[in-house]
Symmetry: C2
Subunit: 160 residues, 2 copies
């Protein structure tokens, strides 16, 4: 990049910027849905159920990167609030198919609006066409790296 080789260049590159901005984006989004009393993983589950209803808890837990034992109380809270419901699968009574309730759909709508607002703030330094460019570049990296669209596996594997 530069003319001379610096002795120690490190966080000047794309990798560091992505990690830094990713954290910032997550924090911004989290605070934008605080009013709805939802956390990002909860928002993620609602979103996943809207895209594909009726999946088993195990599948969903895997996608969210959490063990089943943690998923149970996690889903409990949303069920108590009436945003999702468990339905026994008659064909295989071991499975609990998860569905969005009507109230859950309403909340999802507000969630989307909050996400768009928070994204607009995040990207306010860019013109519309630059924002599209950015989305395209990021999308290509995500696809190349094998990341599933709409699935955020969380910070499970990042050591501290």
């Amino acid at each position: 990049m530069g003319k001379k080789q610096e002795p120690h260049r490190l966080p000047s590159g794309v990798g560091f910027l992505l990690a830094q901005l990713g954290t910032h984006a997550a924090a911004t989004f989290a605070s934008s849905i605080e009013d709805l009393e939802l956390t990002p993983p909860q928002a993620g589950l609602l979103w996943m159920l809207a895209r594909k209803p009726g999946r088993s808890q195990r599948e969903l837990a895997d996608d969210l990167g959490m063990p089943p034992s943690r998923f149970v109380p996690f889903a409990d809270k949303l069920e108590e609030r009436g945003l999702i419901e468990r339905r026994r699968n008659p064909d295989d009574r071991r499975l609990h198919a998860l569905h969005l309730t009507e109230q859950g759909s309403e909340v999802l709508g507000k969630l989307g609006a909050a996400a768009r607002r928070s994204e607009d703030v995040l990207c306010r330094a860019l013109a519309d066409d630059e924002r599209e460019q950015l989305a395209a570049l990021l999308g290509r990296i995500a696809s190349d790296q094998g990341l599933s669209p709409g699935v955020h596996p969380g910070y499970k594997s990042v050591r501290t």
Copy 2:
């Protein structure tokens, strides 16, 4: 963006991609420095000390987004391994100025190499000029959002 308004669009945008890719970039980097037996926050501290030696523990802890009580054992480990050293400030003997040792500098070199390798993998889907475009766009967002270059405050404020 699209012609019709979808009923629920959410993680199609830049915000979600940034969060998703940021996590992925952090995980990739973390695994690339596993051989050096370093975690990302440890790498961050070494990097910060190279950029500006002799800062107090409190300052550094603030930049890393951790309370002083957690910083102490965190720095202890690196000191035991001979990568950093504490030096009493003679003017104000309360302060412990942190410095990189010679061995710490060597490790930092390997660290930089690992970071570059991991970044090359991350960006392999992009041509060189696209990669520069991306860095420029991300850099502008980071600067607009008030993020300090080279400082990664961690995931402290992200609720789960």
